[in-house]
C-alpha cells in the first residue's frame, strides 16, 4: 500500500547526480575510509576534496556541475546547519533546492571511532541523501508583497506612538478610535511620575504634542467614533471593515465654539471626568480633544434641535448616517488599552455606596487642572480638603476570587506613590496612609518610592477587609500585619487602587481578528520573552495595555517595537524559504480541517479557497496528517522525499547489523550536532533525519521504515507549548499503529529534546539502542515475522 504511494512520485528515469565528498582536513577522513566510501556510491560523478568549504573548492563544484551537466548534487561533509547555505549559493545555475547534504562529520566521524563501522554509516548517510535528492524539486524563494499601510486600533499613548513611528517610516497609517477623541487613558491621568527627576510632570503637556503631530502627519488618518466590524486575510494583507458612527456634527464645519452645548437641555455624567461632572448630550470630551469638534451622543440626545438653531456654521446634521469604511492594509496593530476594575465587585469596600470612596483614576481627575475641581483636592461629599487620605492597594488585583484578577496590575504602587507625593507637596496638612501587601517599585522606581517616603507617608502592611462609615468619617478595617494588630483607620477619603483589566475593545477586536487571548483575557503574545509584540496571527501586532498591565514607559517601548515589526515585513521585501504547505485546490474539498489543525494560524479560508500565509507557515506538516484528501504537501518535505530518505538510510543493511532511524526537529538536530562537536559517542546504529517537526510524520512512514529493515525508531522534538499537545497525540497515534501491526512498542521512543542537553540525548540514544537490541532478541522471531507476513 505504501509503496504504491511512494512510486507515484517516482523521478524521471535519468537523473545525473554528482556526489562531492569532503575530508575536512582529516576531521572526516581520519575515521571514514574515503576510498571505500567513494567506490560504494552509485552516481554519475563522485569526487573527494580536502576542504569543500574553501572558496577554491566551491568554485570547483560549480565547474564540475556545468562540465558534467549534473541535475542534482549531494555534498557529504559537515552538518547542513554549518554550510548548507554556503553550498546552495554555489550550485547555480542549478536550483539551490536540488542540493542535499549528508552529515558525515558531526553525526558520523566525530561520534564514532571504528573505521569500518563509521565508513558503513557514512555510506548509508550518503545513500540516503542521494535517494532523497532524486525527488527534490526546484523551488523558488517566496517574496511576500505586503501593502505599505497599517491599521492601528486604539488612539491612546500606545496607538499614537506606534502610528507616528510607522508614519515616519513612510507607511500609511489609519488610527481607528472608538471614542470621539484620541488620547485614551493617559490623557485623563493628569500627572505622570518621573523616577529620574523625582517629580511629577503634566501628562497632557507631554502627550498633546504627539497627538498634534499625528493629526498633522500626511501619512496618518485618524478615524474617531469608529469600530472594527470585520476582517479578512488575503495574501498576507487584511481587508478590514470599519464602522463609523454618526457624530451629527460636520467635522469640516464645526469651529468648536461651544454655543450648541450651552443650549443643550440634556445633562449626563461626563465619562472623561470619571462621571464626577456632568456634560451635555452635544459635547467635546475635554478642551484639548482631537479632533477639535463637538459630537452628539446618540444615546442621550432628544433631537430637540436647539443646538441646530444656534449653530452659525450649520455644522449640525441630526439626520447624519453612519458610514462603513473599507480598508486594505498590510498589518494591524492592536493598541486597544485597558479598563479599570469594576470596584463594585468588591462591595465590602463601599465604592458606589460612600461618595468618598473613589478610584485612583477618579483621584487623578480630581487633581487634574482640567477636572471637576479645577485641580483642587476636595472631598466629593462636601467639597472640603481632606484631612487624611487612605489608599487601598490591590483592589481587584492579586485576587483569585471570582471577579478578581490573579495578576499584579504592575502600575498601582507607583500610581499611589505618585498621588501621595503630589498631595503631600501641595496639601502638606493632608495625611496619606497606604495599605499595601507588597510595594512593587522595581528598578529606578525604588528611588522614587524612597523619595515619596521621605515626604512622610504612612505605610500599613495589610489588605483591608472592609470599609464602613460612621457619622463623620470613613473607617478602613485592616490588620497591621507587621504588628499583628487589627486597626480601624478613620479617614476622609479612601482611594482604591483599581486593577487594570482588558478593555471591551480588546476583547471584541481579538474576536474579530481571530487573535488568541491569555487566560486573563489580554492579547496573547506569540512568545512572552522572544516575541513580545507579535500575536499568533502573522501580520497582527500588539502593544500597550491591550497585552497586559504596564505603565506608560513600557507602553511606549512596546509601541515602538510593534512599529518596527510592522516595518520589518512591510519594508523588508521579505524573502521566505519555500518549504511551506501548499494546497492542491483540485483535491481540496474545503472541509477546513487543516485550518483548525494549524497551530500557527497560517492556513485560512478566503473567497472559498484555502490559503496559506507563507510567513506564518513553518512547514510543520500538521495539516498533512489531518487532510483526508491528501490535498496538502509541504515543499521540500514531500512524502516521496521522506520515503526516499528512509529507504536510503536502510539500503544495503548487513545481516546482524542494527539500524535505528532518529527523526528530530531543528532543535533535536542542533543537539545532535552538539554531541558530535563535543566528541561524545553513541552507537553506529543511529541515523538521524531532520524534519520540520515530527508532526510531519504519519504512521505510514514509520511502518514503511520498519518494513524496510529499521530496527527502532526514535522521535525527538523540543516540547514547544504550541505544538506539544499535538506531538503527544501523534506519538499515541503511531503507537496504536504499531500495536495494530504487532510491532513491539519497545522499538519506538519519544524523547523531549533541548539544545543544551545534548549529553542527555546521547545517553538516551545509547539506551534506546540497547532497548531495541533486547526487544529484537526477545520478540523479533515471533512478532516481527508475523507482522511482515501480514503485510
Amino acid at each position: 500500500m505504501n509503496n504504491s504511494n511512494f512510486s507515484r512520485y517516482a523521478p524521471k528515469s535519468s537523473i545525473d547526480i554528482g556526489v562531492f565528498l569532503c575530508k575536512c582536513g582529516g576531521n572526516i577522513s581520519d575515521t571514514v575510509d574515503i576510498e571505500r566510501l567513494k567506490t560504494s556510491i552509485d552516481a554519475k560523478v563522485v569526487k573527494e576534496f580536502e576542504n569543500l568549504c574553501s572558496i577554491k573548492c566551491q568554485k570547483n563544484i560549480r565547474d564540475i556541475i556545468l562540465e558534467e551537466e549534473l541535475d542534482r548534487v549531494v555534498i557529504a561533509a559537515c552538518s547542513p546547519i554549518t554550510h548548507e547555505k554556503t553550498f546552495r549559493n554555489q550550485v547555480a545555475p542549478l536550483n539551490p533546492y536540488l542540493l542535499e547534504m549528508a552529515n558525515i562529520r558531526e553525526q558520523c566521524s566525530w561520534v564514532h571511532s571504528d573505521v569500518d563501522k563509521t565508513t558503513d554509516k557514512a555510506i548509508s548517510l550518503t545513500n540516503a541523501a542521494i535517494e532523497r535528492v532524486k525527488y527534490a524539486r526546484p523551488l523558488d524563494t517566496i517574496v511576500r508583497k505586503t501593502k505599505k499601510s497599517a491599521a492601528v486600533i486604539g488612539g491612546g499613548i500606545s496607538g499614537i506612538t506606534a502610528s507616528l513611528s510607522l508614519a515616519k517610516q513612510g507607511i500609511k497609517v489609519h488610527i481607528i478610535e472608538e471614542k470621539p477623541t484620541v488620547g485614551g487613558n493617559m490623557i485623563k491621568i493628569g500627572k505622570i511620575f518621573s523616577p529620574e527627576k523625582l517629580a511629577e510632570e503634566c501628562a497632557l503637556c507631554l502627550f498633546n504634542p504627539l497627538i498634534n503631530e499625528a493629526v498633522q502627519h500626511k501619512n496618518i488618518d485618524i478615524i474617531t467614533n469608529a469600530e472594527l466590524k470585520s476582517s479578512q486575510r488575503k495574501a498576507g494583507n487584511f481587508n478590514l471593515l470599519i464602522e463609523r458612527k454618526p457624530t451629527f456634527v460636520k467635522e469640516d464645519k464645526c469651529t468648536a465654539c461651544g454655543n450648541c452645548a450651552e443650549v443643550c437641555p440634556v445633562e449626563v455624567p461626563n465619562e472623561w471626568n470619571e462621571k464626577l461632572m456632568m456634560r451635555k448630550a452635544i459635547y467635546k470630551p475635554f478642551p484639548q480633544s482631537v479632533p477639535d469638534v463637538y459630537t452628539i451622543d446618540e444615546e442621550n440626545c432628544i433631537k430637540c434641535g436647539k443646538c441646530q438653531k444656534v449653530c452659525t456654521m450649520n455644522a449640525i446634521d441630526l439626520k447624519m448616517k453612519g458610514e462603513n469604511i473599507p480598508l486594505n492594509v498590510g498589518s494591524v496593530v492592536i493598541a486597544t488599552g485597558y479598563k479599570g476594575f469594576d470596584l463594585k465587585k468588591r462591595p465590602e469596600y463601599g465604592y458606589g455606596r460612600y461618595q468618598d470612596v473613589i478610584s485612583q483614576m477618579e483621584l487623578a481627575r480630581i487633581m487634574g487642572v482640567n477636572g471637576p475641581t479645577n485641580g483642587k483636592l476636595l472631598r466629593p461629599s462636601d467639597g472640603k480638603i481632606p484631612r487624611r487620605v487612605v489608599m487601598v492597594q490591590c483592589a481587584g488585583s492579586r485576587d483569585e476570587k471570582p471577579g478578581g484578577n490573579r495578576y499584579c496590575s504592575k502600575v498601582c504602587c507607583m500610581v499611589a506613590l505618585k498621588h501621595a507625593n503630589f498631595i503631600r507637596r501641595y496639601y502638606p496638612d493632608t495625611e496619606i496612609i497606604i495599605c499595601y501587601t507588597d510595594m512593587r517599585t522595581p528598578g529606578m522606581y525604588e528611588n522614587y518610592f524612597r523619595h515619596v517616603q521621605s515626604r512622610e507617608i504612612k505605610l500599613i502592611r495589610g489588605r483591608p477587609g472592609d470599609i464602613t462609615k460612621n457619622d463623620d468619617n470613613l473607617i478602613v478595617r485592616v490588620e497591621d500585619t507587621l504588628r499583628g494588630e487589627q486597626v480601624e483607620i478613620e479617614t476622609d477619603i479612601v482611594v482604591l487602587s483599581e486593577a487594570m483589566e482588558p478593555s471591551e475593545g480588546t476583547l471584541s477586536v481579538a474576536e474579530t481578528l481571530n487573535v488568541s487571548l491569555t487566560e486573563d483575557l489580554f492579547i496573547k503574545e506569540k512568545h512572552p520573552k522572544m516575541k513580545p509584540v507579535t500575536t499568533d496571527v502573522e501580520g497582527i501586532y500588539v502593544c500597550g495595555t491591550a497585552q497586559g498591565p504596564k505603565d506608560i514607559t513600557d507602553s511606549v517601548s512596546q509601541a515602538n517595537a510593534a512599529a518596527s515589526k510592522v516595518s520589518e515585513i512591510i519594508n523588508g521585501g521579505l524573502e521566505i524559504e519555500p518549504t511551506i504547505a501548499v494546497v492542491d485546490h483540485f483535491k481540496c474539498e474545503m472541509c477546513g480541517d487543516c485550518v483548525r489543525s494549524c497551530k500557527y494560524k497560517a492556513i485560512y479560508m478566503h473567497d472559498e479557497r484555502i490559503s496559506v500565509d507563507p510567513i506564518a507557515c513553518n512547514g510543520c506538516g500538521m495539516c498533512i496528517s489531518k487532510c483526508k484528501n491528501e490535498a496538502v504537501e509541504v515543499m521540500g518535505q514531500t512524502d516521496s522525499q521522506i520515503f526516499a530518505m528512509i529507504s536510503g538510510m536502510l539500503k544495503d543493511k548487513k545481516d546482524g547489523e542494527r539500524r535505528i532511524l532518529v527523526f528530530v526537529d531543528y532543535i533535536g538536530y542542533v543537539a545532535s550536532d552538539n554531541i558530535g562537536i563535543n566528541r561524545i559517542s553513541y552507537p553506529e546504529s543511529i541515523r538521524i533525519i531532520k524534519l520540520p517537526s515530527i508532526n510531519r510524520l504519519m504512521p505510514k512512514h514509520i511502518i514503511y521504515a520498519f518494513e524496510n529493515g529499521a530496527d527502532g525508531i526514535f522521535l525527538g522534538e523540543y516540547p514547544d507549548d504550541l505544538i506539544y499537545p499535538a506531538i503527544k497525540e501523534k506519538v499515541q497515534e503511531i503507537r496504536s499503529e504499531l500495536i495494530k501491526n504487532s510491532i513491539d512498542l519497545d522499538r519506538l521512543m519519544y524523547y523531549k529534546v533541548y539544545a543544551p542537553y545534548f549529553r542527555g540525548l546521547a545517553s538516551k540514544l545509547t539506551e534506546f539502542d540497547k532497548q531495541v537490541s533486547k526487544a529484537l532478541d526477545k520478540l523479533e522471531p515471533v512478532l516481527y515475522k508475523a507482522s511482515s507476513k501480514d503485510l
Binding site: 476570587k401 502592611r461 495589610g462 489588605r463 485592616v478 490588620e479 499583628g484 487589627q486
Partner: protein, 201 residues
Amino acid sequence: MNTFKIGENTFELAESIIKDLKASDNLGILKCIQCGMCTSTCPAARHTDYDPREIIKRVLDKDETLIKDDIIWNCFYCYTCHSICPVNNSACEVNQVLRQKTIDNGKGKSKIAPFSEYADSYLESGLGTIPSDFFSDLIKDYGNEWIELKANLEEIRKELSLGPMLLPKKDIEDINEILEKTGFTKRLERVRRCKDEKDTR
C-alpha cells in the same frame, strides 16, 4: 531561637492539611502571602488573640505546638476568611483539620466531650439535638418560655400539621450500623470516656 535545619521538610504540616478530606481542593495554604485580609474580617480576631493569618504562618513553619494550642478553638467556622482569601486559602478549614488532629492525638476530647450527647440523640433518633447539659444555662438566657416550647413541641407541631420528626426504626438501625462501620461509634466511646474522667475528677 529557631533554626531551620537543612533537609527538614518544613511543609510537612501544610502538606498533611492540604491532603485531608476536610480540605477543599486546591486549598491555597502554600500561596499565602500573609496579607492579613482574613484577620481584618475575622470575628474571633476582633475579640481574642486568635489571628487566622498567624495560624497559617505557623502551619507553614511546621509549628506542631498548634495542635496543643487552645487558640485554634476560637474560630467560629464562619468561613469569612475562606470566602475572601485572595489566594483561595482557608484558615477556617485549616482549623477544622487541626482540631481533628488534636482529637486524634487524644488531646482535644475535653473540647468535644460536652457535645457527645448530640451524637447519642443522633444514634437514637437520626436527629441531633442540643445537649441537655447546656439547658440550664440556656434557660437563663432564653427565658422560661423556651422550656414551655420544649414541653409543648408535639402539640405545636400538630397544630402546624407537620409530619413526624423521628425516623422509622429500620432507618435508625441502618444509621447505627453505618456509624459503627465508619468508626464513629468507637470515636464516641473514647470521647465519652474522657467526659467521664472529667466528671469523676
